[in-house]
Symmetry: D3
Subunit: 288 residues, 6 copies
């Protein structure tokens, strides 16, 4: 169960309106790597966590924090849109800066949201439940969390460089900091999983001696760059072999004989065209 | 530019039909973490890579391999559907095993694909271009690649446990092996990025001294589990502080005064309800 | 900012496994009218609310409650999947009840979620940010909330009738009760908006004397049922006129002359076919 | 069965080109609350209506009208795009008004539609069949219809305020009028359902004495605003109790023991880490 | 403007319930090639048609017919669901035929639609506005219409073979007939476009002498099958040359130097790793 | 299996940056008719092709070529974004051309892609696996391929007219040429299918004598244009009859009696309202 205080986790006050920035911040709310993704990802990971204690607590602590991040960003968007030229008419524009603003606005924030944030990305695409992942395997999920916090901080840093509004930059500095600590925390939690003997190096920690032993340590060179084998990954301890002239292991990828009632084109054999139709009709006869 | 041989990267021959398994394998083709995701993810990462040489080559080698994995899985699906009961009529079923099969089939594979694979997941949801990521930042992307190969091998292993068809298991053993080596390879490439001084520990390797220094090393305890601080992450060298009683740093999340022409409900101030309508009408008057 | 307790808002303990029900409950989590929709709908409505005080507080109280409902349902799904036949093989099924279960399962819950809930509906379609609405206009939004709680209770009641597991029914009784009170509460809040003079009968409470006065009180009979005019809506005080033989008010819906460089097919006039191509080529010449 | 006349339901002639407005009108065509939503929503409600007569007729009359609204708006879009700067080159722009127009255009209207409307919203997101609802329960659906007409008129009014083209405003006045009467009509139809004894106050009109009687009349205060209880909803006849210090009713939201073959991370019990892997391997052995 | 009669275009009465078939018919309603696609495709093509007269009339005649097809199929779905086992409990099933039915049902038809059709495909994926196309170019669109009617009749024929219900087969015979005539009609309309001199053989009928003249009549052999050149397409009049050993015409696909403020990984040149970070920091300094 | 060379199929070098064009080219990459669609469409058609030899080889040759087209376009996008004003601040704009650029940019290319292409269309909507089709029936699929290449060349031609950058125009000339030959090739392959006796004129080549013989050669006039019958399609040999006053063939589209436990509104019969609730309660009683 959750409780809420109306105080924001961090202040979210821009120094002035900026409708273009309000659009860009939608990426941090409802983009594939936005706060909605990490909030729901951690919530479902926590609810689905089979190990009571420190792991589940760490996940739920962070999940609860992230809902508050969505709140900060949604509030920031509404404030950036105050006095933005939502209902101004395009042909009345005489100033290039206003022209850039009007062209770069998210018109749904006005038409649909009445000057508020949407649960969509910076191009207006609705956030999708397919963005977040909670697989039940903590190593797979913590690695996904590291990736999510990395992509998230990257996008935040890019947007930080796109504004000079001191109030916005102040909030983004907080967000950058939280993304930094979250990157560190999930990397540490991965070490802990290994130290506790719960997971190993490979996800899942099983079927390792069942899998194809010939091909589980070779990189296949299928592009002609040629520099791949010079990488550190193919040298020293635990080097991964670079297979420079890999050949296909399987036979031709032929498709099987079709069900005549599904009318896939067929020629009765590789060399005898023309009888598929008859077969199909015959078969279909049965059901009439 | 690409070239193709009709020989499969690895053999893909089931010992018999299995329409339920053909549905499950859709997850490995068109799921959020399926082969289509890694194929396009690596292709776009490679095309967008700004460092010529070993990194780009490694990415393109693996990208090209993954297109071949989609090919193997699509071929396997078509073969698993040979002689599957696509056009049988439900009420004629007298065998529980056939009933389970008919209930568990992906009917689109027959109706839409004529007995072939779709570019959709195991519930029939179309693959989305939003699943794959190529940010230009190699550390962020390699971390995402590690996550993708981990989720991918996890799903492959689960499906491996769901069948006893020797031909399918044989192919999945190859896939498991490739996912193993790809997990290793991206982890090694991350080490290489650091060794080469291109990236550091945090993505992006910048704004670290600009971000909020007070809050970039604290985990906020916002759930009541209580065990979070006992984790290894908060002990030893580079321990992350566990803030056990975090307080909001910001003020209340109030929304600003609305644009009257957008008709957000408003009361003229916190204590004086009732005048918003008048204001809105007045403003609208202008344009009539 | 939010805080979380690990205690559930209401108990969520099934008496036994039921993988088919676990799939159906996905509709209440990630369906268009599921708890994720109302949770985010109320959160964004609250953050975007321009009237501090009772309305905003009511919205935020309910929003916070709904996150807890997602939690209950996600927990219920994981528990219903305990000991469910996820990795059993279809052809080994000898019992019709198991066959019905295996056919009716959501295979992604196993393959993707490892036995946990997804943020998807009962057919596996990911939840979309386009489902939730926060327009800034409280009358429009409260009416949408009444609709959402009505559709939500309807779906909950239908699923209540689809199970006889006492533990599940116990939880659903709680959910039914909450949906009942939420229906009542938003209807009461609508009355309050009018009593406070903030909104009227029509959304938005403006442009009423600007809109077409001839056609704002007539129902157009365009189907041949004939019983429409007998409805109470067209009788008594404030009757809405039933226009039984409505005629189009506009001219023909012709499309304008195309831009030749966009190559819409055109015939140079209504009676002279054949010159569009020439015009297009001429225009394109300019840019070469 | 349907028939069509080429005369528009209402005239749709702009006084001049306006590509930015043509983009905004996409929201009224293919947005979540656009005309496509109400058209299909009413069609499916009508086709699925179990009560022959006045209700079904009212629904089908309105459904048929709405298809004509899509037609008007699509025609308006094509006409607004006549002579719009679709193929002009950005770097040649010397006028801020043209710059605002070019920045604010929907480029797909030109590239994909050849100067015609799309079935997408104002950000180019395709209309989704998940937007429309036809539940079979008329009270739930009529409430949804009231919401849809409210959100629809709100968006129309906002766009009305964003243009000063007399021809567009003339058409929007008609649309505003139709949205007004549709709001009224569905509210009257809700009263009629009650007067006819078909539905009651709560959807569905059942399970009311089965649902949790303790919690079907209380609002849970879970945010710290404090003003919720002062609302009219908690006073007078049929007051809804405001529970100011609600406590969770359930136990902790623990997830059950995982299926070892799905590789959810597990520690063999709450206090004994480390044995999950062994179990999983053992289980997997069976199938090899 | 449209008008509606309650009489169906063709009878839609099944002889008995069949919930599995009701799910399959969803593909014909809301699948990528279902009736909703052709209905909206033809409507938008008609509204966007720049040539008044026979072409526009043919399109609008067919468009109006297709709305009636959606109506027939939606009615059929509701009737197939009458007395279907929607609320039966899975574990009570003792009959394999019922098991197959329960496993193969679309549970949303019951939970969301109350026993009615959805605007979704046979896997429950919502219909998308991106499925339909109206480009303004009649040759491109008529070709797309031929494709749509071909895929549509193919799916109808497959489903025809999946049932032995005489009432359903009777309706599908009508649908097959309409798809046949629509295939013929669009092929004839393509001939007419050429006869009228409006369009030629290639879409668009322009830029033909501007395009690359060396590569507009060669098929590139990039797979190793070897039989491609034996096809009729490369023989006789207007033969298309088969280029059996095509070589890339372009240089390497290098990506340009990145914007340092976007933090794409960079190494300062092909041979000098390590300075990207410094550059990026320097650049970012400007904005602080 | 695939192999890759880093040399591009055709040169892709713009003469200068053009962020607006970079957005438009997204349509050619990830739009419904973009290169990703034809690449995957041909791949799946080839893998699912049941006729070994010339058809499969033609498909796979073209499929492999199309992956290279995605590569060219993605490279072009990255190069067009070099030195584009991604991190410039809107209010600093003083030049209308820059304003038009900033307003017309795809902000995700910077924020998400770091200056690289996305797998999305020109409005930022992610590419969908539902766009591509591989039905197993070669006639249906080749017709779809003709449509795809027609829509694709049309969009390429439109974008060709929207730029005057010589480098971009050079590449587009190559793309136009390839789309021309692909249109020709699929039309020739359709002729070949007939010449080989594999398929006929109608898809599928079956059920032609089973379908409704009365209605498989009539166009129904349902719109009031009146010129439809004058078209060549209704004259000469194999004329299609134009049915100028078509009447519905079916009875009224009534929905069946609902399952009381699904709570569809019902009135106990066509003339006796009011008893549905009682019935529903009675039925629900059973399960309590």
């Amino acid at each position: 169960m959750f409780r809420h205080t109306k105080l924001l986790q961090c202040e979210a006050k821009p120094d002035g309106p900026d409708a273009v920035l309000a659009r860009k911040i939608q990426e941090l709310i409802g983009g594939a790597w936005g706060e909605m993704t990490v909030a729901t990802q951690y919530l479902f990971q926590g609810w689905n966590c089979r190990i009571e204690g420190k792991y589940k607590d760490l996940i739920m602590d962070t999940a609860t924090e992230e809902i508050g991040h969505v709140e900060m960003l949604a509030t920031m968007v509404a404030r950036l849109l105050e006095n933005a030229p939502a209902t101004d008419v395009a042909h009345a524009v005489t100033d290039p800066a206003v022209a850039a603003t009007m062209g770069g606005m998210d018109v749904q924030q006005a038409i649909v949201g009445g000057g508020g944030a949407q649960l969509r990305d910076s191009n207006g695409v609705p956030w999708s439940g397919a963005y977040m992942v909670a697989s039940g395997n903590l190593l797979a999920d913590f690695r996904t969390n590291v990736a999510a916090e990395s992509q998230g901080r990257l996008q935040t840093a890019r947007i930080y460089n796109m504004t000079d509004d001191p109030g916005v930059k102040e909030m983004l500095k907080f967000n950058l900091a939280r993304d930094t600590v979250h990157q560190k925390q999930w990397m540490r939690a991965i070490e802990e999983l290994k130290a506790d003997g719960i997971e190993g190096d490979i996800v899942p920690d099983d079927l390792l001696d069942v899998e194809d032993q010939v091909h589980n340590n070779t990189i296949w060179q299928l592009s002609d760059g040629g520099s791949g084998p010079s990488g550190g990954w193919s040298h020293g301890e635990n080097a991964i072999d670079y297979l420079t002239d890999p050949e296909p292991l399987g036979g031709p990828g032929t498709a099987p004989k079709p069900d005549p009632e599904l009318y896939a084109s067929y020629a009765g054999g590789q060399n005898a065209l023309g009888t598929a139709k008859g077969k199909a009709q015959q078969a279909a006869e049965k059901l009439r």
